[in-house]
Symmetry: C2
Subunit: 123 residues, 2 copies
């Protein structure tokens, strides 16, 4: 695979991860994820608990949950009127992001193979 092809793939991967990156780039959504990890004994965490945890209104929480869901970070499990949200057990977003980061790392390692200062001097 030549370099141009590799960059093309990186660009594709970049744009595919856009949702995921902006999703976890937000502080509020980060704290929602933390809240989910802090309640591992349940089948999920309910919306009401998140509102208490984050001191946010329900519409706000609902909005952020939607963003996280669209980015495949979380899933829902309905039980009556109660909605249990849980982190995506397939971890698809983690795998995607991991792959992206590793890809960047690989390309940059090749990029700077001959110069520790980041710009090739010979030419």
């Amino acid at each position: 695979m030549d370099n141009q092809e590799r960059l093309k793939r990186l660009a594709k991967e970049f744009s595919e991860c856009q949702n995921a990156l902006t999703a976890i780039g937000d502080q509020t959504r980060q704290s929602i994820i933390i809240a989910m990890l802090e309640n591992p004994d349940e089948k999920g965490i309910r919306v009401g608990e998140i509102t208490k945890y984050t001191n946010l209104s329900r519409p706000a929480v609902s909005h952020h949950l939607k963003v996280l869901k669209d980015a495949h970070f979380i899933g829902v499990h309905r039980e009556g009127t109660k909605n249990y949200y849980y982190l995506d057990p397939t971890k698809s977003f983690v795998l995607r992001l991991k792959h992206l980061i590793e890809n960047i790392e690989t390309i940059m390692n090749e990029y700077y193979w001959d110069n520790p200062f980041g710009h090739k001097k010979d030419e």
Copy 2:
């Protein structure tokens, strides 16, 4: 290290990576990074080239470069009035992000050790 301590560290890591995540979550900045990788034969890429490459005004490019610089993605090298921007050769942002992702992965692996569906059923 107990679980609570681990989550505390994750929260810290999360917030420390906030800048980096929003930095590369933006499409324009992604394309700027790609542009930099596509011009590996220079000691860096000049602002004017990026404006041509992205069809953006100089203020806009300048703004994005500042964001990328604050997130330690890139560095500058001044030469007269010319500013050469290059990807951070220490790759500090890559290492940070990589560590964050791996941390999330580890915690989630532990989180779901007994249930492939993401919510523990026994209780």
